[in-house]
Structure formats: structure tokens, C-alpha cells
């Protein structure tokens, strides 16, 4: 739905700019996912701020509608560098200064192709830039501008609706594989980020969308996806013969979630499960221990599900709940590891 909002808002250049800024924000956040502590987007001056323990990353996000449109490159570079100069004047502890854009050659308004800037989804350190572009930058910033902290990121960000985010989605996919063990989550993840960012920015007038989220909030979509669904059918079938997984998973989703969210229930289970598991000597046994545990101990938890009359169904729900909580805990551990949350 947030995606729909973004699509609808694309009618105006400023909305396109905001979408690009969100995409750039996600990219830079994922670039720094282990160390970042907060993410801030300021629509008014195309600002992205990423806080790290060692200092802030200031980024300027400038975009064009049309692929190949170089006409505003010079002007956008100038604006971006001016804002970055201001940032660095205010905060002399800046860690990095980034100009992020979807203009293929960010340094020239000329249509002529420069072989040096040929591909999207590339970043350039200042030291790797062409001498004439270095000169250009130096002319645009003051003497005290820390050029060694300056980077240029060129991302592919064109098209209609969701397609715009294709370049960034590759990165989201990689992240989803690492954190959630499944690349297919990338679409949902992008959707949820858009929802989150837009909703947190939507209180202020649309021309000046902005938000400031700490790490926990910024990564909430990842956590939510980790705990989104009950354990999958193939896992379920390893502990239960009940033939209608869909029925149990759908109709009791809310109950399963509730038990998982309740500290006393989930801790009673995870505490018992973990302490037993820790006593298992071999890795192979420990990876399949969850099925064994659920099969053997589900009756211990049956009392929490007395509202289900049918005994078979009750067993299925209890088993699915236990398995879900165990799998979720493992997923959350993984997310925490990958994101250093």
C-alpha cells in the first residue's frame, strides 16, 4: 500500500525525488547495516543522514526522471556539494560525505558519453575520480572541504512504480538472503520500508517529508518479516500428521502469534527447549532437535490451548505454535547477528 502511495505520488517531480531519496536511504543504510545507529531523511534539502559510532554520513540524493538525462548534472552536483559543505561546516566530525544520484555521469551536463562513467550501481571514491572532475569539485567547494571523505554513488533508479527500485532491490535481495535466509522477502521488505518511512514522514507537509528513525525502528520491517508467518508446511509435517496445515496456519494465526508474543509462554518454551538443546553433543542432532522436542513435549503446553475442543486440531495447533516460536527465535538471532541489532 505504501508502494501504491509512492506510485501515486510520482505524478510530481518532488514525489519522484522523495522516492529516490528513500531508495538511496535504504541503500546507504544497508551499506552500513552493522554499524549504523539511526537513519534520517530530510526531503526539503535532499538530505540523508546516517549515524555511526564514529561519526555521521551525510548524503545528498539528487535524481532525474529520464535515463540519459544529463542536462541538470552540473547544477545538481553544485547544489549537492554546497549542502555537503554546509554539513561539514556544522559538523567537523563527519565520517563520510556522499553524493548519490541516478545521473550516469554526475560531473558533466554534456550528452557525450564518458567511457569512465559507464555503469550504474557503482561508487567512486574521490581519489579514483578523473583529474578534471577532481578539479571541478575543488572549484565548487571551499579549501577546507575534506575531499578524502567524499564519495559519489551512481544508482539505477528509473521507470514506473516499483520498477524504479530495481537497482536497489538487488542489494535488498542480498540482505534478505543474509538476514532472513530467503531472497523472496525482498519485495515485501521494500514495501514495508516504504510504508514505515512514508508513515513516519507523512505528518509534516508533503513538500518537506522527513523522518528520523533509530536503528530498531528502521529495521523493524526485517524483524516483522522474520516473525511474519507460522512455521512452513514442510517443517510442520515433521512433527504432526494433521492433514490440513492451511486450516491450522490460517485460522489460528492470531492465536499462534499471541502465544509467541507472550513473554511467559514463549520463555517457558524457549528456556526449556534451549537448555535441553545445549546438552546435545553433536551438531547434526541439535539441528533436528526441535522436531524431537515438539513431538515429545507438546503435551506440556496443551493447557494453554484448552479453548480448542477438537483434540486432534488442538494437538496440531500446539505443535505448530511450538515449532513456530522455536524457528522464529532462530530467525531473530540471525537478524540480530547480521544487523548487529
Amino acid at each position: 500500500m505504501a508502494e501504491k502511495e509512492l506510485i501515486n505520488r510520482n505524478a510530481s517531480p518532488s514525489a519522484y525525488g522523495w522516492a529516490f531519496q528513500v531508495g538511496a536511504g535504504i541503500k546507504l543504510m544497508l551499506d552500513n547495516v552493522l554499524r549504523f545507529t539511526s537513519l534520517k531523511l530530510e526531503g526539503k534539502d535532499d538530505d540523508i543522514e546516517i549515524s555511526l559510532p564514529e561519526g555521521k554520513i551525510y548524503a545528498q540524493a539528487k535524481s532525474v526522471f529520464q535515463m540519459g538525462d544529463q542536462s541538470s548534472a552540473g547544477e545538481k552536483l553544485k547544489d549537492a556539494l554546497k549542502t555537503l559543505s554546509d554539513d561539514v561546516t556544522k559538523d567537523n566530525n563527519a565520517f563520510k560525505l556522499i553524493y548519490i544520484t541516478n545521473i550516469l555521469n554526475p560531473f558533466s551536463s554534456s550528452k557525450k558519453k564518458n567511457p569512465y562513467y559507464q555503469s550504474y550501481d557503482t561508487s567512486y571514491d574521490y581519489s579514483t575520480l578523473l583529474p578534471k572532475d577532481k578539479e571541478k569539485i575543488k572549484k565548487l567547494v571551499g579549501e577546507d572541504f575534506p575531499v578524502e571523505q567524499f564519495q559519489v554513488h551512481v544508482v539505477r533508479f528509473f521507470g514506473e512504480g516499483k520498477n524504479k527500485f530495481d537497482g536497489i532491490k538487488e542489494q535488498i535481495k542480498t540482505f534478505a538472503r543474509d538476514a532472513l535466509g530467503d531472497t523472496s522477502y525482498s519485495d515485501l521488505l521494500l514495501d514495508k520500508w516504504c510504508t514505515l518511512f512514508l508513515a513516519n514522514a507523512a505528518d509534516v507537509p508533503t513538500e518537506k517529508l522527513s523522518f528520523d528513525l533509530d536503528k530498531k525502528h528502521a529495521l523493524a520491517p526485517v524483524i516483522v518479516l522474520a516473525i511474519n508467518n507460522p512455521a512452513p508446511i514442510d517443517e510442520f509435517q515433521k512433527v504432526c500428521n494433521y492433514d490440513d496445515y492451511e486450516e491450522v496456519a490460517e485460522n489460528y494465526k492470531s492465536l499462534i502469534n499471541q502465544r509467541a508474543e507472550e513473554y511467559d509462554f514463549s520463555t517457558a518454551l524457549l528456556g526449556d527447549y534451549t537448555s535441553q538443546k545445549n546438552q546435545i553433543p553433536t551438531f547434526q542432532e541439535s539441528s533436528s532437535f526441535k522436531y524431537k522436542y515438539v513431538s515429545e513435549h507438546w503435551k506440556d503446553y496443551e493447557g494453554y490451548f484448552s479453548e480448542i475442543d477438537n483434540a486432534e486440531k488442538r494437538e496440531a495447533v500446539v505443535k505448530l505454535t511450538l515449532l513456530t516460536i522455536i524457528i522464529r527465535a532462530a530467525k531473530l538471532q540471525k537478524v540480530k547477528r547480521v544487523t548487529n541489532l
Binding site: M1, A2, E5, K192, T195, L196, L198, A199, N200, A202, K216, H217, L219, A220, P221, I223, V224, A226, I227, S254, N257, Q258, E261, E262, Y263, D264, S266, T267, L270, G271, T274, R328, A329, L332, Q333, K336, L341
Partner: protein, 495 residues
């Protein structure tokens, strides 16, 4: 009756303009081009005579003071008119309330029918005058009606004809009403046919409403989930608060006691983090949904204000449609009845008008004489009371109007006992040949030499009226002159 002098002054002007300053049988308001004020000048004279003459596009008569010197049967009237105020020999009259009093004084008769039809007899207006044969609008609200005119000539003031006339007027009003009702009936039938009631006036609004339904449903789901997760979070907090308050200690590996808090409780942080994550996304979703609902509702509101007018209109149409239907056939039947009744009364009135009326003969005689002279073809039957003008072609009608009016003027002058002036605006209009106009004017010169003749034309007719007073207009007559003009004219401006 003769106009001896006519002058006027714009109320902001410094000088008076004298247009007619001598007695002359014939005055010609002449200019070779149009739009120089000829017609306005002629109307200004009639206005000064107390007639209700509408303003012309550029000249508002109310802005001028008019002075007119008139002689009627040796009597001299000094007339002053400014807007509603009229003074005749220094006696004030308030127009239009005393319009007939003034007219009665000036024209020397108290016969209502005559006073009411004088203007139609003596004035050939350039627009309608030359098609107005025996009934119709002359100018503004002034009308002419042959029956009334003839009854006036005959001094027929009987109650009966008055009653008939009043009844006909009432019937005319009714007929007009029923004509309107017939329109309504026909429109209503049309509405009933189109509608039954598939005319939709709020499709856009409904569309918005339809958009809202799924969003509201989704909002309900999200809010439900949000309240569940809030409950769980609260319960967890209460549980942890309880444990922390209980001051529970566990043994550490080295045997020292460790206080149990939320920070060292197994699994607590994980659960609370994931619950908070779910909560913040649910809140985000809820806020976006609410935002969208608010946006759509704002659009609806905007739409509603925009819709007010059409919806009022729609309501009216609906009301018309739901009204007990007025049968067009029924209305038509009534209308036909009324028309028949009117015809009957008109015929009675006509009979009464004709009864013992020597003036009809008089008028007809004059007409016959000139019809011959002006070569009106035989097939045009002379019917004083005709309602049919359409069958008469432009040039013939022009001549006939001229002839009829000459007959009216002749009869009226005879009745009043003095020759009435003739106001003739643009006699050369339409498809009339110059030779015909000359022929017509020659008749005037020959047979109406006692009548003062006032002509407005792009010709000066010197060939016919050699001694006419030709007043040449340059288009500035009614302009208000400024102080500069005034001083220059009076040589008061120092060079």
C-alpha cells in the same frame, strides 16, 4: 400641432444645444452616415412630449434637460423635461404617474384610447415602425391596436366594450399561463421518459465512497491487530514489573546472588524487540490508511460543495418528475378552449368596434386612395383588422404601413381638430426604392402640408422639400462638452 423650438443640455455640460430654433414645415435630421444621433434626436423630441421612450445605447435621456416649445391650436406650451420631472408652462408633472394627464393637456383630448394610440399613429420608428400596420409594439412599452384606436375615434367608452376589452386581456394572460404549462407538461413527460431514474448525479462521489470501503476494512483489521499486540505488550510489561518488584535473585556460577531484571531475563529483549517492531509497522500502516481515508474524505467534501448546484438542479428535476404529472393533452384542450373563447370575445369586440363607426369608412377611404396611387397590387385585400402580415412582402408592407398610418393621422387629426406632426424615421429603409420613397414623400407634401413633418434620414430630400430646415448631424450632438470647448466657442480662451 407644431414644434417651434427644441433645445437640450447635458446635466454636466456647460452649454445648451439648440436643435430647432425656428418654425418650419419640414425638419430633416440629416447625416450621410449612420450612428450620428438622428434617431436619438427624434426620440428625444418624443421623450420631451412626455412619452415613455427608452434610452438608446449611448444616450441616457435622464442625463439631459430638454426644452421644447410647442404650439397647439394657437396655444403655446413651454415644456421642460428632466427624467421623471416634466413642466408644462411651469406646472410640474411627475412621470410616468401623470403621463396621461400631460398627454391629455398637450394633445387636447381626454379620450383614453386615443391617448394610448397616438404615438403609434404619428411615429414611424426606424426599427419596428415600418412593419407595424395595425397592431403591435411601437417602441418600449408603447403599443398600438387598431380596434382600440377606432373605438377611441368613435368615442366609444361604453361599459360593454370596456368589459370585453378587459376580458380579452384576462384571457390573454391565461393563455400565456397555459402556454407555459404546456411547456412544463411536455418537459415533464420528457423527464419521466429519460429518467426513470437512471440519471445519476453523484457518480464521482459514489466512486470515492467505493474507494473508501476496502480501505476502511483494512483499517479495521490493522487496528484490531494493533489492539491485540498492545494487550500482549502490556501483559508482558506487567509480568516483568511484577518479577522485578519481587526482587528475585538467582545464583551465579561463583555463588553470588544476581538480581533478576528485564535485562538479564532470558528471551525478554528478543520478545520485546519483535513485539515493538510489529507494533511500529502496524502503526505505520494504520497512519497511512487513515491518511488515505482523510484525503478521500477531503476530496468528497470538496466534491460535495461543487455538487451543491447540480444537486439542487437534480432535486428540482426529480421533484418535477415525481410531481403528479400535468397531462399535455389536458393542458392543450384547456388552451384550445381559452383560445376559442378569446376569439369569440375578439369578434364581439370587433363587431362592437365596427358598429356605427363612421371612422372605419373614413380610414378605409383614405387607404383605398393611396393604395391605388402607390400601385399596391389588387390581390392585396385591404383589411383594416388583419392579423396576417406574413403574406405581405417587404416593399409592399412598407408602403402599406405608410398608407395605413397616413389614414390614421388623417382621421386622428380630424378628430382632434388640428394637424398632428408626423415623425418619420428612415423612410428609405429595407428594400424600398428611392423613387418609391420620393413618391411617398410627395404625397406628404401634397396632402399633408398642414402637418409638421420631421424626418430622419441619410438623404436631405431637398428635391422634394426645397424649403426644409435641414439639421446636419456630425455625431457629437449628445456629447457633453467640456469647459475648454465652451470657452473656445465663446472666445473666452486667451490665445
Amino acid at each position: 400641432m407644431r414644434i417651434l423650438e427644441f433645445k437640450f443640455q447635458h446635466k454636466l455640460s456647460y452649454s445648451e444645444k439648440c436643435v430647432i430654433n425656428k418654425d418650419s414645415q419640414v425638419h430633416v435630421f440629416y447625416s450621410t452616415t449612420n450612428s450620428t444621433g438622428k434617431t436619438t434626436l427624434m426620440r428625444a423630441i418624443l421623450y420631451s412630449l412626455g412619452f415613455n421612450i427608452p434610452d438608446t445605447e449611448l444616450v441616457k435621456f435622464g442625463n439631459y434637460e430638454f426644452n421644447l416649445k410647442l404650439s397647439v391650436k394657437e396655444k403655446i406650451f413651454n415644456i421642460y423635461r428632466q427624467g421623471a420631472l416634466m413642466k408644462v408652462n411651469d406646472i410640474e408633472y411627475d412621470l410616468p404617474a401623470e403621463e396621461f394627464a400631460v398627454r391629455a393637456l398637450l394633445f387636447n383630448t381626454s379620450n383614453y384610447d386615443l391617448l394610448n394610440n397616438i404615438l403609434g399613429a404619428i411615429y414611424f420608428d426606424q426599427e419596428k415602425g415600418w412593419t407595424l400596420l395595425n397592431r403591435g409594439n411601437i417602441i418600449g412599452i408603447n403599443r398600438f391596436k387598431i380596434e382600440n384606436f377606432l373605438r377611441g375615434l368613435n368615442d366609444d367608452t361604453s361599459d360593454e366594450s370596456y368589459k370585453l376589452d378587459a376580458e380579452i386581456k384576462a384571457l390573454d394572460k391565461k393563455i400565456a399561463q397555459y402556454n407555459l404549462m404546456l411547456d412544463v407538461a411536455e418537459y415533464q413527460a420528457e423527464v419521466n421518459q429519460n429518467v426513470n431514474h437512471d440519471l445519476s448525479y453523484n457518480t464521482f462521489d459514489e466512486e470515492l465512497e467505493n474507494d473508501l470501503i476496502p480501505i476502511r476494512q483494512q483499517l479495521k483489521i490493522v487496528e484490531n491487530e494493533l489492539s491485540l499486540i498492545n494487550d500482549v505488550i502490556r501483559n508482558n510489561k506487567n509480568f516483568i514489573n511484577f518479577i522485578e518488584q519481587k526482587k528475585i535473585f538467582v545464583l551465579s556460577q561463583d555463588g553470588s546472588p544476581i538480581r533478576v531484571t528485564r535485562h538479564n531475563l532470558f528471551n525478554y529483549e528478543m520478545i520485546s524487540d519483535s513485539n515493538e517492531a510489529r507494533k511500529s509497522l502496524l502503526i505505520a500502516e494504520r497512519n497511512l490508511l487513515k491518511n488515505r481515508i482523510a484525503k478521500i474524505e477531503a476530496m468528497r467534501e470538496k466534491q460535495l460543495t461543487l455538487d451543491t448546484l447540480p444537486s439542487v438542479e437534480a432535486q428540482l428535476v426529480q421533484r418535477l418528475a415525481s410531481m403528479k404529472s400535468i397531462g399535455a393533452i389536458e393542458v392543450k384542450a384547456i388552451l384550445d378552449g381559452l383560445k376559442k373563447e378569446r376569439e369569440k370575445l375578439s369578434n364581439s369586440l370587433l363587431q362592437m368596434t365596427k358598429h356605427n363607426n363612421v371612422w372605419i369608412d373614413e380610414v378605409c377611404k383614405t387607404i383605398s386612395k393611396y393604395v391605388l396611387e402607390l400601385n399596391i397590387p389588387q390581390k392585396y385585400k385591404i383589411d383594416l383588422f388583419t392579423h396576417n402580415l406574413k403574406s405581405k412582402t417587404g416593399a409592399i408592407l412598407h408602403k402599406l404601413v405608410f398608407i395605413y398610418k397616413l389614414a390614421y393621422i388623417k382621421a386622428l387629426s380630424k378628430k382632434l381638430g388640428y394637424p398632428l406632426p408626423i415623425f418619420c424615421d428612415s423612410p428609405n429603409g429595407r428594400e424600398v426604392e428611392r423613387s418609391t420613397v420620393d413618391q411617398m414623400l410627395t404625397i406628404l407634401k401634397r396632402d399633408f402640408s398642414e402637418h409638421q413633418l420631421i424626418i430622419a434620414s441619410i438623404y436631405n430630400y431637398k428635391n422634394i422639400f426645397a424649403s426644409a430646415n435641414i439639421i446636419t448631424l456630425n455625431g457629437k450632438l449628445f456629447d457633453q462638452d467640456n469647459l475648454f470647448d465652451y470657452m473656445k466657442k465663446n472666445n473666452k480662451l486667451e490665445e
